[in-house]
């Protein structure tokens, strides 16, 4: 049904030849189904059943709304239904609207995004730019009808730069399916960090594709916080295109009701002496479903790679389920790669210890769950983000934030 809508939409759209090619690819392959290995546990069927429109309508945005969703960071880049609304005035940061923005793709959805996204932007951070504070990227979304939105951003971090970003989608309207593609080009010796704050309302469905290309001596960190949203699929790919790259991925997922979160990560170690670290923690309440698929690839001759991956999950309900697949593909011998994965509950002895010292069951469970997550929180640098994470965690575990 949505495919029909897309076909109708492109009739009057002015597509470039590359966009046409991408569209053909998408129409040939269609939306992924559970028959695709990468979507084995994630069905788009329900999400795609709605009647979405592809055209955006305009809406008023005021400071109060921005305040509500902002972390209180000074510099903000604000988008309204994918169109730029305001940008910070920082020397060395420029935002350009692109007509034809070609980016690497990892699924049919990226092709679709390339074909029909109206507003593609490139954010360029100049060489040796050193940002002390993170910049916040806020996407405000509002539409009269149910809306299928394409977001497309390329981030270029010039060599020697130090860039920290916070990204958040704020849907204040009807049912929205967001298909976002972000490509970060992290040049030599630069540092790139992005925190994705995923606390959406119930009528937001997101497919978030993030691809990071890394050059020599660079570091890239992606932190993903999934707290709310009926359907979240994150595709996170790192490509280490030269020696001595470091890639870090961290994730905290705490969901309740009947929400669904799927993390797919992929690290492609193509060159020697690189490092990757991955730590995803999940807490599942009610009838939630979680999926984790972490893939580490070490290409032939990419020696001296250290790759670590861990995925830990707590299940708090018999109706919750978790499917996880930590995957290693290794074609070089002088490497140290490991992955670990656990699924379990709060240790009864620890709980008893805390109860016997006068903590209520709720508080004791909350504190122990927080302790389970702390390994990830300790890896965060920016205090605004730590603060955000703690607030949301406290809310989810229904304990007072001051205890954390």
């Amino acid at each position: 049904m949505l495919i029909e809508e897309i076909k109708k939409y492109v009739v009057d759209a002015d597509l470039t030849s590359t966009q046409k090619k991408s569209l053909d690819y998408f129409l040939e392959n269609g939306f992924p189904t559970t028959k695709d290995e990468d979507w084995k546990y994630t069905s788009l069927k329900k999400v795609l059943k709605r009647k979405y429109c592809l055209k955006s309508s305009d809406f008023e945005l005021n400071d109060e709304m921005i305040q509500q969703y902002s972390l209180g960071v000074k510099d903000k880049i604000i988008f309204k239904n994918g169109k730029i609304y305001s940008e910070p005035k920082i020397l060395g940061v420029s935002i350009k609207k692109m007509k034809d923005l070609v980016m690497p793709k990892n699924s049919a959805l990226c092709y679709l995004n390339e074909a029909i996204c109206e507003n593609s932007y490139e954010i360029v951070f100049d060489k040796n730019l050193n940002l002390d504070n993170p910049i916040e990227i806020l996407h405000f979304i509002n539409n009269y009808n149910d809306y299928f939105l394409q977001l497309r951003t390329k981030i270029t971090c010039g060599s020697g730069s130090n860039v920290k970003l916070v990204e958040r989608f704020c849907n204040i309207g009807n049912n929205t399916l967001i298909n976002s593609c972000m490509h970060a080009d992290v040049k030599r010796n630069s540092f790139f960090e992005i925190s994705k704050l995923q606390s959406y309302n119930d009528n937001t469905h997101t497919i978030d594709n993030t691809l990071v290309d890394q050059d020599r001596d660079s570091t890239a960190n992606v932190h993903t916080f999934s707290f709310d949203g009926s359907f979240i699929r994150n595709n996170l790919n790192f490509y280490q295109n030269n020696e001595n790259c470091t890639s870090n991925m961290n994730g905290i997922t705490i969901i309740d009701k009947s929400n669904f979160v799927d993390h797919h990560t992929f690290v492609d170690h193509k060159f020697q002496n690189c490092l990757s670290n991955e730590s995803y923690k999940g807490v599942y309440f009610d009838s939630t479903k979680g999926v984790f698929n972490g893939k580490i690839m070490v290409r032939p001759d990419a020696q001296k790679i250290n790759a670590f991956q861990s995925n830990n999950n707590l299940l708090f309900s018999d109706n919750a389920s978790i499917k996880t697949k930590p995957q290693l593909e290794i074609y070089a011998d002088d490497v140290k790669c490991s992955h670990g994965c656990t699924i379990g509950q709060i240790d009864k002895k620890s709980l008893f210890y805390m109860r016997s010292r006068g903590f209520s069951e709720k508080t004791a469970k909350g504190l122990l769950t927080f302790a389970f997550l702390i390994e990830v929180i300790e890896k965060l640098n920016a205090k605004e983000i730590v603060d955000y994470a703690k607030t949301e965690i406290a809310k989810k575990l229904s304990i007072e934030k001051d205890l954390l």
Partner: protein, 485 residues
């Protein structure tokens, strides 16, 4: 003090790769085989040859119908030329004039074959306390210790004989653990299997011997499709071992077996495999395609334990699995998979927890050398009703040489809150510091590698029955002699 010269990596690797397959001889025994190809007539011929009842023929024809509609799967992490299923001989039997009365009547030529294989039947019979059923090409040729087992009510015989003598038992259990439709190769096997072993342990009996089957593909251009069915009644216990070899041939031979285990309440089955099919030469030519379906079902309080040492085959593609249907049932999987030269292995296990308090343990060790690729692929599924279930999985790989690959694909699915699942996997090579430590203490590099590999596999080797642990250890040493990572 003797000082070992440090042997360079290249020389060592050369030695490994030049190591020839020991069991690559053929036996000149007249055999009876039919035309190549597969159609209903072939199936009818096999069934007739075996003097099978009608229900068995119907089972085969049904399976053939299902197989024809199926497509050969290609999701595994292996590359191989797809066999032409019309270019295989589906029935091949060593020609024998009369039915044998005892092992002493066995064809002397064939006897010599088994002697060369290192399983002298006489010796085994007298010394090793092991009952052996030998399947050559497609037909079961010798079964030892039958009487002794019969006294206890234990049935251990070729499955073709079981179909004749114990049709109600075979009919009741065949195809229940691995349905005909399960997969492409199990359907093929169900249609054309020509022999295999059948084992039945009555209620409350502990089998006093290790039961053993030895498989050998001898004839060129034949496929081996054996079918094994092990049934352990309530409170019984059995340990079963299979071994396999094949001659060296330039073409690829197909081996598609089906093994079904049924462990009824409180029964225990231990199934060990030492797989040493011909792996192909060092250029990757020839070798056996080993596409086997193995699965066991555990009823209440039952236990099934799979142990496998995989050193042979050009391509190995198998997942011995346990369906933990009953309460408090236990499934275990211990595996060492060694690949060298151009060998490929995609192996692992499936543990499906359905009963409460079911437990499973998976220990998988992979060793890859040369240009080989080894994969662990496993599924741990804990169903909603399988409360308080427990799984522990560990899969480690050891890489020797910079052209080999090692992969891990664990699937973990948990649907309730009271179960605990742990999975860990590591990939590394033998550390230079470990070798250095051994060298310092006067242990040569080669011995040090053997020592480390041995230690690495110990957890699994310890699970093998005594008689075969020695053989397996030897096999490991042979296939990895001197390779320093």
């Amino acid at each position: 003090m003797k000082i070992e010269p440090k042997i360079s990596e290249d020389i060592l690797l050369d030695e490994v790769t030049s190591k020839e397959y020991e069991y690559g001889f053929t036996t000149n025994i007249e055999s009876e085989k039919i035309e190549k190809g597969l159609n209903e007539d072939v199936i009818k011929f096999i069934s007739k040859k075996k003097n099978e009842p009608d229900w068995m023929l119907d089972f085969r024809l049904e399976a053939f119908k299902v197989w024809k509609e199926m497509e050969e799967p290609d999701w595994a992490n292996i590359n191989y030329p797809k066999p032409d299923y019309q270019d295989i001989v589906y029935y091949c039997a060593p020609k024998q004039k009369n039915k044998l009365n005892s092992l002493d009547d066995l064809d002397p030529e064939m006897k010599r074959t088994f002697d060369r294989l290192g399983i002298s039947i006489d010796e085994q019979k007298r010394l090793a306390n092991v009952a052996v059923d030998i399947v050559m090409d497609s037909v079961s040729v010798a079964t030892s210790f039958k009487e002794k087992l019969a006294e206890l009510g234990i049935i251990f015989c070729p499955i073709s004989e079981a179909i004749q003598k114990y049709p109600e038992l075979v009919k009741k259990y065949i195809g229940t653990v691995i349905p005909v439709r399960d997969n492409f190769f199990s359907a093929l096997n169900s249609a054309v299997f020509s022999d295999g072993s059948f084992c039945y342990i009555p209620k409350g009996t502990v089998c006093p011997l290790e039961l053993s089957t030895y498989f050998r593909i001898n004839e060129a251009g034949t496929g081996q499709f054996e079918r094994t069915l092990v049934i352990a009644e309530e409170d019984s216990c059995v340990s079963y071992l299979e071994g396999c070899t094949a001659p060296m041939r330039n073409e690829n031979q197909l081996h598609a077996a089906v093994v079904e285990l049924v462990a009824l309440d409180s029964a225990e089955i231990k199934y060990s495999t030492v797989q040493n099919w011909y792996p192909g030469d060092k250029n990757g030519k020839g070798g056996v395609f080993n596409f086997v379906t193995k699965r066991g079902i555990c009823h209440d309080n039952a236990k099934i334990s799979w142990t496998q040492i995989e050193t042979g085959s050009a391509v190995t593609w198998k997942y011995p699995s346990c369906v933990l249907k009953g309460k408090n049932s236990i499934g275990e999987f211990f595996s060492v998979a060694v690949t060298n030269n151009f060998q490929q292995a995609d192996t692992g296990t499936k543990m499906v927890h359905l009963g409460e308090n079911s437990k499973s343990t998976i220990i998988a060790k992979g060793i890859c050398a040369g240009k080989s690729n080894g994969s662990y692929r496993g599924l741990v599924k804990i169903a909603k009703g399988a409360k308080n279930s427990r799984n522990f999985s560990q899969c480690d790989s050891l890489l020797m040489g910079d052209k080999c690959g090692s992969h891990t694909f664990p699937y973990i699915e948990v649907d309730n809150k009271s179960s605990q699942v742990e999975h860990e996997a590591t990939t590394s090579k033998i550390g230079e510091d470990q070798i250095f430590y051994c060298n310092q203490r006067g242990i040569g590099t080669e011995e040090a590698v053997a020592l480390i590999v041995n230690g690495y596999c110990k957890e699994v080797l310890n699970k093998l029955p005594m008689e075969f642990a020695v053989e397996a250890k030897k096999l490991l040493e042979i296939s990895l002699e001197g390779s320093v990572g």
